[in-house]
């Protein structure tokens, strides 16, 4: 009962926040300099007033600002994300086309970084001061500090150009017409470099956080008590230290999960991965307002959703949170 009330409250708050964000998005986007009709006409290398006017009418930009806001809010209330006139396709279908590729990339990176990061962090904490601790800490610091695009390009030069092991761009081999298992393998090969690149950064974050958190918890009184009553080191590590130490990691994972949809612009660009991040970035440079608003809306909804989920996970990992709350 407690849990249901909690959930209902969070969802209700979430909806209010989402509506506020949607309005704010609209205002922010329209506050940015630039005019979609001018951009479209400008890229054509020639333009006149008549063309600009035709484009503004087509894009709905000839209407007063408040009317535009009203149309936007009205269609969103009907779960309609609008239509991209520039691409002549509905925003929802444009996003849905790109969603699988993005989720595959960010999801893989998420799982890799969470698993490897947590395990490496535990290992480093367990062997504090040992050479392996030093190695893990140094490597993770290196990946944490190196710009993503540099790692991306270097990995392309090493693994695609020099060694010839993996393809450097795209989602699958274009023109190969593979299907079934062969296609899955092909996509998998294309996924390795971008997922590793994106995953490495977060791995480094998790390693550092898990290690620090483990060391902090390991010094607590209840760990000493557990050791005093004769529990084995393995049990203490798993049940006492790790379980308490993982809470900050859960927080961070919740934040990262919220970025699953829009957070991989750079990786998608360098590896020509056909995802949402690029859709959004292109829409930004072209001032394709409907697409931008659509991607922003879905990203915001996901962030709110994952925040609620994170709080639920807290309650599972640490039942005291629910009891107090």
């Amino acid at each position: 009962m407690n849990l249901i009330m909690f959930l209902l409250g969070r969802v209700a708050k979430g909806v209010v926040v989402l509506m506020a964000i949607a309005i704010l998005n609209f205002l922010l986007i329209h506050a940015a300099p630039g005019d979609p009709a001018q951009v479209m006409a400008g890229q054509g290398g020639a333009a006149d007033e008549e063309l600009l006017q035709q484009l503004r009418v087509q894009y709905g930009l000839d209407k007063p600002f408040l009317t535009q806001l009203g149309i936007y809010a009205g269609s969103y209330l009907q779960f309609d994300l609008g239509f991209s006139y520039r691409q002549q396709q509905s925003v929802l279908s444009l996003i849905m086309d790109r969603l699988p590729a993005t989720l595959l990339l960010t999801g893989s990176a998420f799982v890799i970084s969470l698993l490897v990061g947590t395990l490496m962090g535990m290992l480093a904490a367990r062997r504090q001061g040992h050479w392996s601790d030093g190695a893990i800490t140094t490597v993770s610091l290196m990946f944490y500090a190196t710009p993503l695009f540099w790692i991306a390009l270097m990995s392309q030069i090493i693994f695609s150009l020099k060694l010839g092991w993996l393809p450097n761009v795209g989602y699958e081999t274009i023109g190969a017409n593979l299907s079934g298992f062969a296609r899955m393998l092909d996509i998998g090969r294309h996924l390795i470099l971008p997922a590793m690149t994106l995953g490495l950064f977060f791995t480094a974050v998790y390693v550092r956080m898990m290690r620090a958190s483990m060391l902090q918890v390991a010094g607590s009184d209840f760990v000493k008590t557990a050791r005093a009553k004769g529990l084995s080191e393995g049990v203490i590590l798993r049940h006492h230290i790790a379980r308490n130490a993982i809470l900050p990691v859960v927080t961070l994972a919740g934040l990262q999960a919220g970025q699953l949809v829009g957070g991989a612009v750079l990786t998608e660009t360098v590896f020509a991965w056909p995802g949402i991040g690029r859709l959004m970035f292109d829409a930004l440079t072209q001032r394709d307002y409907p697409i931008l608003l659509g991607v922003f809306f879905i990203s915001s909804a996901l962030v709110i959703g994952f925040n609620i989920l994170t709080e639920l996970v807290y309650r599972i990992v640490d039942p005291r949170i629910g009891a107090q709350g």
Binding site: P33, G44, E49, E50, Q87, P167, L185, A272, P274
Partner: protein, 515 residues
């Protein structure tokens, strides 16, 4: 049994590793960047749209690299002696991609209805020059002009006047017609699939009117947004053709020198872009001709060409590119001469006002160029402040005259009456687009010369007027010309005849073949 299972697994792995997926000879992979918004060429003339759609649609004419008209959908033509009547005879047996016949009615609909309504470069021609377009019979079209118009024969290539199917567009709202997503042209290639964000797949039009063409079966235009990744993709063999602008200039020499790689700067004669700094002439020191002449002597344009652009391009002498018709080199030449620049700037009464230089947001090379120019100007005592923005911001600032100086580059479009005069005539001083006379230059003599040269069919008379206009403009410097840009196309040498026309890859796949 066991063996065959291993063999099967090995085959699968091999397929997945790409060993057996060797490219068929007649497939070509080309980079396209950025991804075009639309492929319907009547509605969009962005560079990437033109590059792809010029192989789907066709115009009445195409042009060789000397900009001479060649048959395309029109197989022959006659021009009356008074220069007012043009008769075009169409190819026989031409079909749209949906099987409908292409006739003179489609030509009339395209030129007189569709393009007149939506095409910003065709509209002024129909509105100001053309009295009537009519179908004489299903294979003959007659265009009657209001007055002679020399550039008409250079204005009929596929991006300037693509032929649009009447049976699909007549009576519809052109801009929202759902058919815009499934372009139907008469060209050598049909759109097979467009996977947004990944690739555009064109396949051979088996009913193409020119027997034996096209020769390549499939073209994949791959969207690869990062320039360094595009270079790696060419080196690893994923990509066969890098159209102009798809790799950084620093990579051109290296990639061209790879085994089996060829490079050409041809195929850009129609566009012949000139890069310049547009100057806001409305007020301040920049309104003074002497000051502008000082700036021109202060900017080391050879450094820009040799270092910033890695040797690509030529330093221009004036408003008309040396690769196009009516170019005249007998004009004022501005050498790099800082002493003379200081002298002229002092003479103009410049008091150290800050001048805002708006950068073109097209990547690192334009940033470096802006910094080099700023350094040149600082050296002669001119205070320059660089202004940055993204593409939309640059377009808005330039279109609405919110700059002191702004980088830009413009296509010459085959004829000064179409691609050059627009930047200098006073009738084109209008806010709203970056390709007008944004600096506000106004000289009645220049207006009159451009108007007279356009309304003239005789080439020698036109040349005389354009020579005179080039002299005036190089003296008054309404803009500071920096570079005739050269555009390298890098491709595998086993692809032959890819660049044979004045628009290169943009309509090149009609005649291209692979060894």
């Amino acid at each position: 049994m066991k063996l065959s299972r291993y063999a099967f697994a090995a085959a699968l792995c091999a397929a997945a590793m790409g060993f057996t997926a060797a490219k068929a000879e007649s497939v070509v992979h080309v980079v396209i960047e950025p991804e075009p918004p639309l492929l319907m060429q009547g509605l969009a003339q962005n560079a990437p749209t033109n590059t792809i759609a010029g192989n789907i649609y066709e115009g009445l004419l195409r042009y060789n690299q000397k900009l001479e008209p060649q048959p395309s959908l029109a197989k022959s033509w006659e021009i009356s002696d008074d220069g007012l009547t043009y008769v075009f005879h169409l190819q026989e047996g031409v079909k749209w991609h949906d099987g409908q016949p292409f006739t003179a009615d489609d030509v009339v609909f395209s030129l007189d209805v569709f393009l007149r309504e939506v095409h910003p470069r065709w509209r002024p021609i129909t509105d100001n020059q053309i009295a009537s377009v009519e179908a004489v019979d299903p294979l003959t079209v007659r265009i009657v002009l209001k007055q002679p118009f020399g550039p008409l024969m250079t204005a009929l290539e596929v991006a300037s006047a693509p032929m649009i199917p009447k049976h699909i567009y007549e009576g519809t709202d052109f801009r929202t017609n759902p058919a815009n997503n499934t372009p139907i042209g008469t060209g050598p290639y049909k759109l097979q699939e467009w996977k947004k964000g990944s690739y555009i797949h064109l396949v051979r039009n088996t009913d193409y009117w020119l027997a034996g063409h096209p020769k390549i079966d499939e073209i994949y235009w791959q969207v690869i947004p990062d320039a360094a990744a595009r270079a790696v993709a060419f080196e690893t063999g994923t990509i066969d053709v890098l159209p102009a602008g798809s790799v950084d200039v620093y990579d051109v020499a290296r990639l061209s020198a790879l085994e089996g790689a060829c490079m050409t700067t041809g195929g850009w004669e129609m566009a012949s872009p000139i890069a310049w700094i547009a100057v806001n002439l409305r007020e301040g020191p920049l309104s003074d001709k002497t000051f502008r002449q000082g700036l021109m002597h202060a900017i080391d344009r050879n450094f820009g060409q040799e270092v910033v652009w890695n040797g690509l391009g030529r330093v221009p002498t004036g408003p008309i590119a040396s690769t196009t018709r009516f170019y005249d080199p007998a004009v004022n030449i501005y050498d790099f001469d800082p002493d003379k620049a200081r002298e002229l700037i002092a003479q103009s009464g410049y008091k150290g006002e800050t001048i805002r230089l708006l950068k073109l947001p097209y990547g690192e090379i334009w940033d470096r160029w802006a910094e080099a120019v700023r350094q040149n100007l600082l050296d002669v005592g001119v205070n320059v402040e660089l202004v940055s923005s993204d593409t939309a911001g640059w377009t808005q600032k330039t279109s609405d005259w919110d700059f002191d100086m702004t980088f830009n580059f413009l296509y010459q479009l085959g004829d000064p009456a179409i691609g050059v005069s627009r930047s200098y005539v006073s009738s084109n001083i209008a806010k709203g687009n970056p390709f007008g006379n944004v600096g506000g230059y106004s000289n009645p003599a220049v207006d009159a010369l451009f108007a007279a040269a356009s309304a003239e069919a005789d080439e020698a008379v036109r040349q005389a007027k354009y020579s005179e206009v080039q002299k005036i403009l190089t003296d008054e410097l309404p803009v500071l010309w920096l570079l005739e840009m050269e555009q390298p196309t890098i491709y595998r040498c086993d692809i032959k005849d890819l660049v044979t026309t004045a628009i290169g890859v943009n309509d090149g796949f009609r005649d291209a073949w692979r060894e």
